[in-house]
């Protein structure tokens, strides 16, 4: 290659993933695949009651069984602290009641673990768990957040009177009240965002090993954030030095938020491995995952939107009761507050907004971030209300949206709800593209024609915006948001003597293809072969501290940390090249993997030559340290705000109430795409999770707190046959926040989709006078809406 030849850029290309060969041949290494010599297995004894006092636990029968090594209860583990509460938004203080490793004295949800049986194999452990005799004194339970705050409701925790975890508000109450009181049109609607179960196909678990000689723990965990778990488990739960724990996330079989949090199994496997001197494994089965690992959403809201007869939105007032579950999960308070209320205006300029949120304990599984985390709830609410408003004034819903969009020249846009300004946006082109794809021009005529034949078609529009890469640390941590730490990311790059590049990152890919995406970025930045770049992650030993992968932050924060490390490598390489080429450093340009003298491209050193020279260190410039090895800690100045338009077309069968999803069109804007194949995959998966909320899924408890949708038999995760073909397209509006211009794509699909389908279903049902319908739009619910049931 001559110096004038340019290397083909790999960023922007839909290359297939480097992660895949081992995963498609059965060579992946997931948590349950880990086997250690002498490893013991845990089975838990879980409460069958949603609310009860534990009056006695008798472990003697279990202990006597062959193969059982130990049985422990919560009382044995009082030397460690409860799980930490890491996001205390909205004045959460001593009413954040987090779970202990095992429940002590009282249980507050079905599935609350009260004892752990440890045996030589998992079948024995399970048999013995059935032989632990626990006596309970059952108490009245409450599962509904609004009922839980009523006088006389069962009380879960002494420190949280009326079951209130927090009260939080944003916006301007007086302005919103005035706007509503003086509006030409006000529409009011109860909006329920039902409880969902994230359902990563791999359940959760932990394997802990303790080394008595060094006092060090190693824990393999199904984790989206192993560095954070190390910090929380050492500093808060065990009170041991951080460096005495190594956390390793192997291949993680999906997370969707559920694997962000610090769970009691991390603690009780550690505790037991230290006690017994043998490695201890715990893996949930699916019904345990459904009962005890975190759920998502579960908001009950009262929403009021105000506007003029010609389609201008003038006000929005929202009251929400957010169900937090039986205990406070790690970052539970941040989801229905910062990530929900502050983005409730969506893509619209709304002059007066007020949101009030009450976080509530109930006798149900803990609720915390699930894909989208707060933004799907916000997006669903505003997009439903805008459609309600459009219907009320008899205006085309696309037109109402257009009329109220924040305009391109208005960015950075401050929505006055306590966010930093929206970074960039151009909402209309995405809407236009989607309308054109669906053939909006003649859709209404077709719809009218179909209705004459007794066929009920509906079209739903969703124009969403969301928040990714939440930052900067000073805003999320210090400025009233209540987050307990920072939210930067880090990366290290080393260019080895042979010219091979090793990148370590604190991000934690679990399906997002970050190894591929990050390697594409590094290959282009340094001008090296893609195959010469290795991305390492997942082990706190050997990767720099990172907050982990969630909130669609890994490219916009973690990826930018990598880019900045590459910039530092290039700066050092330029200095070294100037020395080797006897030129002035200011005259050296770094391009296509070469540092050359400006104007004389033949005077050049490749990155390989520079790495070798830096590594052997025979002749370095005065004061330069050997090796090309650079680390960055990147704290973005703001969040990013991806957006887009989704449109769906449905047909409702009035005889059966069945909804047929005929078309689904998604036009998303996540800024420039590093790997379009991966971005499209993220969008597909996200959309089907949103469709699932609209049509199929819902976690259902009875009044006693029994989870009726407790297995995959009853909780309707969609199959391939229940999922539509998805038509994707995009627009590209770079973010000014970071040097890659990227915004994030992991959750957009979910954030844009539930209301898209519901708006279509309700449009289809409008001839029957239906104005709103709660999710999921099951055949029964749709049929009842049609037939006035």
């Amino acid at each position: 290659m001559t110096a004038t030849e340019t290397r083909e850029r790999i960023v922007g290309r839909a290359i297939k993933r480097r992660e895949d060969p081992k995963l498609i041949t059965g060579q992946g290494n997931y948590l349950d695949d880990i086997k250690l010599p002498g490893m013991l297995h845990v089975a838990l004894v879980r409460s069958p009651y949603a609310h009860a006092n534990i009056t006695s636990i008798d472990v003697s029968r279990a202990l006597a069984m062959p193969g059982v090594v130990a049985v422990f209860t919560g009382a044995d583990m009082m030397d460690i602290n409860p799980m930490p509460a890491a996001w205390q938004a909205g004045g959460v203080k001593n009413n954040a009641v987090t779970p202990r490793a095992l429940a002590v004295g009282k249980v507050t949800l079905v599935g609350d673990p009260v004892a752990m049986v440890i045996a030589e194999d998992r079948y024995t452990a399970r048999d013995a768990a059935d032989a632990v005799d626990v006596e309970y004194e059952p108490l009245d339970a409450v599962v509904d957040a609004r009922k839980a705050v009523e006088p006389g409701a069962p009380q879960l925790h002494a420190t949280a009177p009326n079951n209130v975890v927090f009260e939080w508000e944003c916006g301007d109450q007086a302005a919103a009240d005035t706007a509503l009181a003086s509006a030409e049109v006000v529409v009011k609607e109860p909006i329920i965002n039902q409880r969902l179960i994230p359902t990563p196909m791999e359940t959760r678990g932990s394997v802990a090993r303790y080394d008595a000689a060094t006092g060090e723990f190693t824990v393999w965990m199904t984790s989206q954030a192993p560095h954070v778990h190390r910090l929380l488990l050492t500093a808060f739960v065990f009170g041991i030095p951080e460096h005495k724990l190594r956390c390793i996330a192997p291949n993680v079989g999906g997370g969707f938020g559920q694997k962000i949090f610090c769970y009691n199994d991390m603690a009780f496997t550690m505790w037991a491995s230290r006690k017994l001197g043998r490695p201890v494994k715990f893996v949930e089965d699916r019904s345990e995952n459904y009962k005890y690992s975190t759920h998502g959403r579960d908001h009950i809201s009262e929403a009021e939107i105000a506007g003029t007869r010609d389609g201008k939105i003038t006000g929005l007032r929202v009251k929400t009761w957010a169900n937090i579950g039986g205990y406070f999960s790690t970052i539970a308070a941040g989801i229905p507050t910062t990530l929900y209320g502050r983005i409730i205006n969506g893509v619209y300029k709304i002059p007066a907004v007020h949101v009030h949120v009450t976080g509530v304990y109930t006798n149900t599984a803990m609720v915390d971030a699930y894909r989208g985390a707060g933004r799907p709830e916000a997006s669903y609410l505003i997009e439903r209300m805008v459609d309600r408003f459009a219907a009320e004034i008899g205006m085309d819903p696309a037109e109402v949206r257009r009329k109220n969009f924040i305009q391109p020249h208005e960015f950075p846009y401050n929505n006055q709800l306590g966010l930093l300004p929206f970074d960039s946006g151009n909402y209309e082109p995405a809407l236009n593209k989607a309308l054109e794809t669906v053939g909006y021009g003649d859709f209404r005529a077709k719809q009218a024609e179909a209705r004459k034949q007794g066929r009920y078609l509906g079209l739903g529009i969703s124009t969403y915006v969301e928040i990714c890469g939440v930052a900067p640390s000073a805003w999320i941590g210090a400025n009233g948001q209540g987050w307990g730490a920072g939210l930067w990311e880090s990366a290290n790059i080393r260019v080895h003597l042979t010219g091979k590049v090793v990148v370590t990152t604190g991000s934690l890919p679990h399906g997002q293809g970050l190894e591929t995406t990050f390697a594409q970025v590094v290959a282009d930045e340094l001008g090296v072969n893609y195959d010469d770049v290795e991305i390492q992650w997942g082990d706190t030993l050997g990767t720099p501290f990172g907050y982990g992968t969630y909130g669609s932050r890994s490219l916009a924060v973690g990826g930018v940390a990598i880019k900045r490390s590459a910039d530092k490598i290039k700066a050092k390489a330029r200095k070294l090249a100037a020395h080797m080429l006897e030129a002035n450093e200011l005259d050296i340009v770094f391009e296509n993997g070469k540092a050359s003298v400006k104007g004389s491209p033949d005077k050049a050193k490749t990155i390989g030559e520079l790495a070798l020279a830096a590594s052997v260190a025979y002749d370095l410039p005065e004061g330069m340290e050997p090796f090309l090895d650079e680390t960055s800690y990147y704290d973005p100045p703001n969040c990013t705000f991806p957006f887009g338009t989704h449109i769906s077309v449905v047909e409702v069968d009035p005889e059966t109430g069945h909804v047929d999803l005929l078309r689904y069109i998604a036009v998303d804007d996540c800024g420039p795409q590093i790997n379009p194949l991966i971005v499209e995959g993220q969008i597909h998966g996200g959309i089907v999770q949103g469709i699932a909320q609209a049509l199929y899924e819902g976690a259902v408890y009875n009044d006693d707190g029994q989870l009726l949708s407790g297995t995959l038999m009853d909780y309707a995760v969609p199959t391939a046959a229940m999922s539509p073909h998805i038509e994707t397209d995009h627009t590209v509006t770079p973010s000014p926040v970071n040097p890659l211009g990227v915004k994030g794509a992991g959750e957009a699909g979910t954030i844009g989709s539930a209301q898209c389908v519901m708006n279509a279903v309700i449009d289809a049902l409008s001839p029957f006078g239906v104005k709103h319908l709660q999710m999921p739009a099951t055949p029964e619910r749709v049929w009842n809406a049609i037939h006035g049931g």
């Binding site: 997931y30 079948y123 089965d285 699916r286 995959l712 199959t719 046959a721 998805i726």
Partner: protein, 159 residues
């Protein structure tokens, strides 16, 4: 305990198993074939699909002793070592996986589907894989991956 002999991925294995041992646990725990996964406890997810005498089964719903004398193929044995089955290629080419947890079962189920219906429509693919759940991909690229494999397998070798 009972003694069983099972041919797994072409190799005979003789082991002692409890009468209640599930095939999936036998494969994972006793033979260390951890490519077959467990995603549920109600036979819904299909993460555990393997072939038993050439037909796809959910190995969480078969007892190991039922497999005495049988032939079992798992994801590790779908293609000869160092090679990829057209479906594995398809999943790679078409981005048919994200976290990869459902993938072995999904590929084994798809292999059985193509065996029965070598040229399925998209709809037939979607219905044919109804016993397998994927939470990551939204299935769009899984459909593309299976179609890729079907087309590839339709071309006679040597073409």
């Amino acid at each position: 305990m009972a003694t069983i002999t099972v041919t797994v991925n072409g190799k005979p294995h003789t082991n002692d198993v409890e009468p209640r041992t599930l095939l999936v646990h036998y494969l994972r725990e006793q033979l260390n074939l951890t490519g077959t996964h467990i995603g549920c406890d109600t036979s819904q997810c299909g993460a555990c699909v393997v072939h038993l005498n050439g037909q796809s089964v959910k190995s969480c719903t078969v007892l190991a002793i039922q497999c005495h004398g049988a032939e079992v193929t798992t994801i590790e044995g779908l293609a000869p070592q160092g090679q990829m089955h057209a479906l594995q290629e398809g999943f790679w080419e078409k981005h048919g996986l994200q976290c990869g947890f459902c993938t072995p079962g999904m590929i084994m189920a798809a292999a059985d589907l193509l065996e029965r219906n070598p040229n399925p429509t998209d709809d037939e693919i979607r219905h044919g894989l109804e016993g397998n759940l994927c939470r990551c991909t939204g299935y769009e690229n899984i459909v593309r991956a299976v179609r890729y494999a079907a087309e590839k397998m339709a071309v006679p070798a040597g073409d």
